[in-house]
């Protein structure tokens, strides 16, 4: 499989100025300003194959958006190299621009006061889509995103979920080969989040579009991506399958049990770490290695009515990676 995206030792350092607080600080900064540097990316490398759907995960300020901005030509890297579809993104060649799209959950690309349809028409001209292809793509997207009814309503009157669907449709009209999504589900309610996820997955399956998606909602990544890149403080701390991530960093499982009658004794610690205990239910964390032995002992020694063993939540795994592997540096 050819690579859609290749990133080698990409670094980005922002320059900014320190300003003392208050009016005095403002006046002082007119004459003298201390220059500060912020290393947003510290030489990251990764490759993404054609048609892959990859999640980019990390806390705020980790460098996710910076990476997407460099790959879409908005930012110029300080050093390193990136090639997307054979182009250096920051050269902003129209030949490249016509082959990718970026949707940012917090930014609006549609005309606010006009129906989304008008923005679609403008995009048709901007991306020079021929009328036949346009009609075909539009029909497909209206169907897939279920937005036939809302594209002639002014965008300002749409709900956030509806707007995001229209934003996605506008970004996909020119059939981009690469799609960058920056927090596409931010601010949406659970149901809309779920829908947007479904649409993205379906589109990726049908069109084989390469998708790189950032999010700090673990659910997005868990549901959508087989591969995840975890980034923290400008360095990649994990790059691999979501399953492997769970395997290598989740060394324990969760035992959830319900007692058949009230059990007051305080000896649960020997079966595992008590995470939660309320009334008849207890949640325990037990090491993966001896999960079989723990459950057996629990079943024989405690008055258990119901017991289940669950994988730990991906959230917790990620939190663990961030806390143990790369302690926050100042």
């Amino acid at each position: 499989m050819p690579f859609s995206i290749q990133v080698k030792k990409l670094s980005k350092t922002y320059e900014y100025f320190k300003k003392a607080p208050g009016l005095a600080g403002s006046l002082k900064s007119l004459f003298w300003r201390e220059k500060l540097y912020n290393e947003a990316l510290k030489g990251i490398s990764f490759e993404i194959e054609e048609g892959e759907l990859v999640g980019f995960l990390g806390p705020n300020g980790a460098g996710k958006t910076t990476t997407l901005k460099i790959l879409s030509g908005i930012l110029y890297p300080t050093s390193g190299d990136a090639v997307v579809l054979g182009h250096a993104p920051w050269r902003r060649e129209p030949a490249y621009q016509k082959q990718f799209s970026i949707v940012m959950g917090q930014k609006n690309q549609l005309w606010w006061d006009l129906p989304a349809q008008e923005s679609f028409i403008l995009n048709r001209e901007i991306y020079e889509i021929d009328p036949g292809t346009y009609q075909h793509n539009l029909g497909e997207l209206l169907e897939l995103f279920d937005i036939k009814e809302i594209i002639d309503v002014p965008v300002r009157k749409l709900s956030m979920g509806q707007r995001m669907k229209c934003e996605l449709a506008a970004a996909l009209l020119h059939s981009p080969k690469v799609l960058f999504l920056d927090e596409p589900t931010i601010g949406l309610d659970i149901i809309s989040q779920e829908k947007i996820r479904d649409y993205i997955r379906e589109y990726n399956t049908i069109k084989k579009t390469t998708v790189l998606l950032t999010s700090h909602y673990m659910r997005d990544i868990e549901r959508l991506c087989r591969r995840v890149i975890v980034i923290n403080n400008g360095t990649i701390v994990y790059d691999g399958s979501v399953d492997d991530l769970m395997h290598s960093y989740a060394d324990h499982k969760v035992i959830r049990l319900t007692f058949s009658h009230e059990y007051k004794e305080d000896n649960l610690g020997k079966y595992g770490e008590v995470v939660e205990r309320s009334g008849l239910t207890v949640v325990l964390k037990a090491s993966k290695k001896d999960i079989a032995r723990s459950t057996a002992t629990i079943l024989s020694e405690l008055p258990v009515e119901d017991l289940s063993v669950e994988e730990v939540e991906i959230e917790e795994v990620i939190r663990k990676i961030f806390n143990t592997l790369t302690p926050l540096k100042k």
């Binding site: 320059e15 110029y76 050269r91 930014k107 001209e125």
Partner: protein, 273 residues
């Protein structure tokens, strides 16, 4: 940076579509346009009364007759709305809130984008303002002087078209400052007042003291109001040297706008939104 060089007019169609869409966008606010016209009409009416009062006292003002001076103000109002660009307010917002990024990812030229939006807005505004001025000039028939020769009208039209281009370029350059200065609004207010003054929007420039006339002569701003108004009033016999100078100014500011845009993008790329 060859990608940032415009492909105009090869991809003119996208700008024509943009022109249409911006009209629709502006027409969403029909009511505010009506209010705008009503406000304008009132303003013109007050001005006419003020100046007829001045002339009744028997004074002459410079070498302007009452009808010439009132015509100057009526023209100034048309010109002000047709020529002057206020697009930099949007440009400033666009750069400040990071929506500028949308232009870096699309095959679209930033300069021509705003040029088109400005032009489409100006033409719509011109139609509305001309209706208002038309109504008023019928009521105050005697106050409004028409050119004696048809060619004067043609000259006037050329000067208005070139004026739109120059005014846009000036305004666009002001907007570009946002890349370097965050407090660009204060600066913009100051500059706008200065430009309006030296354009002759407050008073015909030839009523100024000598020193101010000489200053305004080396500045490009007089081409925005004073020059087209003087053409209309038939005060300029041979407009061609001025047209040539105006063209040179247009080229200079086009170059400046391009340089500022390219350097601004460099800075934006480095700093981020």
């Amino acid at each position: 940076m060859e990608a940032d060089v415009p492909h105009f007019p090869y991809d003119m169609k996208k700008y024509i579509t943009l022109f249409h869409i911006n009209w629709q966008n502006t027409l969403q606010y029909r009511f505010s346009l009506v209010i705008y016209i009503a406000g304008y009409s009132l303003y013109i009416w007050v001005l006419l009364y003020l100046w007829s009062a001045v002339y009744r006292e028997g004074q002459t003002v410079g070498n302007y007759t009452l009808s010439q001076l009132t015509t100057y103000y009526l023209l100034q109002l048309i010109i002000n709305s047709v020529i002057f660009s206020y697009i930099s307010w949007d440009v400033i917002d666009n750069i400040k809130n990071g929506n500028f990024s949308n232009f870096l990812i699309k095959p679209l030229d930033y300069f021509f984008y705003w040029f088109t939006v400005n032009l489409s807005g100006k033409i719509l505004e011109a139609l509305f303002v001309m209706m208002a001025v038309g109504l008023i000039s019928i009521v105050f028939w005697g106050y409004f002087a028409f050119p004696e020769r048809f060619i004067t009208l043609i000259y006037f039209l050329i000067s208005v078209i070139l004026g739109i281009v120059l005014a846009f370029e000036l305004d666009f350059c002001v907007g570009m400052i946002t890349f370097w200065l965050t407090q660009v609004r204060t600066f913009k207010y100051m500059l706008q007042t200065l430009i309006l003054f030296f354009a002759g929007a407050m008073l015909p420039l030839d009523l100024f003291p000598d020193i101010l006339i000489r200053i305004s002569d080396v500045l490009p701003f007089k081409y925005l109001v004073f020059f087209p108004a003087s053409l209309y009033l038939g005060k300029i016999d041979n407009p061609w040297p001025s047209f040539a100078a105006l063209l040179v100014w247009i080229l200079i500011f086009y170059g400046l706008a391009r340089i500022l845009l390219i350097r601004g993008i460099k800075r934006y790329e480095a700093v981020g939104a």
